[in-house]
Subunit: 453 residues, 2 copies
Amino acid sequence: MAQKPSIPKGTRDFSPVEMARRNYIFDTIREAFRLFGYRQIETPAMENLSTLMGKYGEEGDKLLFKILNSGDFLKEVHPEDLEAHNLPRLTNQLCEKGLRYDLTVPFARFVVQHRNEIQMPFKRFQIQPVWRADRPQKGRYREFYQCDADVVGSDSLSNEVELLSLIDYVMGKLGIRTCIHVNNRKILTGIAETIGEADKIVDITVAIDKIDKIGIDNVNAELREKGLSDEAIAALRPLLELDGSNEEKLEKLSTILSGSETGMKGVEEMKEVLEGFENLGHSCGVELDVSLARGLNYYTGTIIEVKALDVEIGSITGGGRYDNLTGVFGVSGLSGVGISFGADRIYDVLNSLDLYPKEITGSVKALFINFGKDEAAASMRCIKALREAGVSAQLYPDCAKMKKQMQFANSEGVQYVVMIGDTELAEGTATVKNMTDGSQTTVPQSNLLEVIC
Amino acid sequence: MAQKPSIPKGTRDFSPVEMARRNYIFDTIREAFRLFGYRQIETPAMENLSTLMGKYGEEGDKLLFKILNSGDFLKEVHPEDLEAHNLPRLTNQLCEKGLRYDLTVPFARFVVQHRNEIQMPFKRFQIQPVWRADRPQKGRYREFYQCDADVVGSDSLSNEVELLSLIDYVMGKLGIRTCIHVNNRKILTGIAETIGEADKIVDITVAIDKIDKIGIDNVNAELREKGLSDEAIAALRPLLELDGSNEEKLEKLSTILSGSETGMKGVEEMKEVLEGFENLGHSCGVELDVSLARGLNYYTGTIIEVKALDVEIGSITGGGRYDNLTGVFGVSGLSGVGISFGADRIYDVLNSLDLYPKEITGSVKALFINFGKDEAAASMRCIKALREAGVSAQLYPDCAKMKKQMQFANSEGVQYVVMIGDTELAEGTATVKNMTDGSQTTVPQSNLLEVIC
């Protein structure tokens, strides 16, 4: 019986037009990574569960897609765990492998596994899909691409400057007007110390990360709940409402945070990064934003988040500096800094602003009408010459009615229709119809390239 | 406790050098597909098991990687199936999804699911990994890429001609000397009919497909086992040992098979395809090989298999015409023809013949030595200009000892080392060392592009 086919929820098929657009984004990012000296690696879709489990928190473990063991998958299953319905234990008995959840853990695993082949500092990039068993919703998928660039093995802030420059380059190429928000985790630490709540740094960063979403009053309510004193909350407020230029903000901060060594270090770092970026010149905006925390305790220095100016869509690129990437795999002391371009959100931005170059259609440039055997043979010789010159071209494979072939040309969006009928065949010519303006011209077959280019 | 990291057996990490080489192959194939008018699609890594199961035979079902259901995966499990250790039933209860096994079944599913958006004839290509729980061995992996191009919805033999031309184009670009072996399933049917064993066509094709591997005597022994008469086997022999040019073979065949309508149709088709290909001109060899069957009953017309001339590695590309691609999903009557490039074997061929262009290294072109803050700032400005001109360049991020930085340049295989020290900084110049020939020159910073290109 025939099945009505479908795909798993949260996954997508990509049509030729969508692929042309996605390739445009991926190719732009890949070429930028290459120009900036990042080197590509790829890792397997499947990793051992021992590599993945425990790296993304308890919630993350649940969101991993696990692969049922091949052969007799019941072999390792303990009856008492079945009896007790112990899902975590049974998962480990049924499955040894899972699909990667991000590109960071596989990268850390790669660095440790191949440490004898890798030169430090190691600049790597990786563009691959990841899988998460998240509840699907608008803009959130169970399979999506990440585009990550990281440098490990160097503490130099020139790496941060270069990443900002990379963002500026990619967004410029794609034509997206953006503002890069930056902060430094050490400034956040300095703030917590200065208001006398150093031990509440986690609560503070988690709360202030939400300012954009829930507003300062709700953030303050949350901080009060976490046990911050009213004095501390009052002391925090002006820090979160700093204004002026980046230089002015840094100047104010270096006064306010002067009592915190860590805070002052953060100010220094931020200053060096921003000055380095100014030195290079850039077209996107850049703004020191001390409310930027990006949720986690993962980052230890610079924090980066990019927002599109002309679309409300949240962060389209983000990253920062982290310590001890590979500690969990037994190699400690490796610090790094990296960013991740959100390809799906960038795709949405380009779609809603219609920023794709005209030629990004995925369509063939020239379609040759099929008038029969001999005409088709002559057409195929012309097509071969066009392809060798880098012009995509094809013959309509069947000698169908002219109307049907022209409809095909129209619906596929080809730019030129080429006709070699019996007259053209006898004269060695070809008639070219420009589908954009409707104009038509007849040229010797050997001159086709001058018309179609 | 630190884990010793590893990856699942049969999977691979790809280093930057390997990625550069793989990208060279994929980019060459992708560009060829585009020039020839094939349009790219992508489908999800995970498909519903109902889409995959039963499409690859009983053995294939076992080789599918299945994904454990999220949440309470025991929910659907029947205790009596656990009791009975009924693995196939339990698999279906534990898992709804699996990883794709090839690109053909997802393509068929795509065509049916999106039939209202697709124009026929539909020329599609797809370059994505597939997963098989096969026993890993040399050259056989559990995750590998397929590069498929197919046309569905057209019976015209010009599609076959174009696919041969595509193979010729790709192998020419890659510099691999090849011979394309072609046959037609209808010729095989004609042979079976002519020797009076029409009902044994499957046994005959399966057996003669092995001629290259086990020799004609073993093939004959196998045929005898399958119940072919000695007369039939004797009648078969000259057919399998046809010699001469393709034209001569076709002429002999049209005499021998004159009693079989299907056989004669096959000869006609083969003739048209070969003449069409000759008309276009080609650099690879092409040979009619009536022992070519490619194992399965899948193909219904033209059969194609490509072998490298200078390496013993088996087929590096193959394909053919099939009927009823989408019948199992409820849409019948769709015939198609396609080929699949074996990227991993092509990679092995290029490696063993050392056919990669010199510039395929994945390395950055110019490394700037880091002499300190001000020198680095000047370097980064020069680097920005180089990148904008399309030249990959980077600063060594740390102001390390000269020796260490030069060692890095050497081991990474960079082509140029650029030095802006205090003298150069004062004079606005840069010293460029060509790492290939050791030559060194000092130029104004604004002229760097003339030296590094």
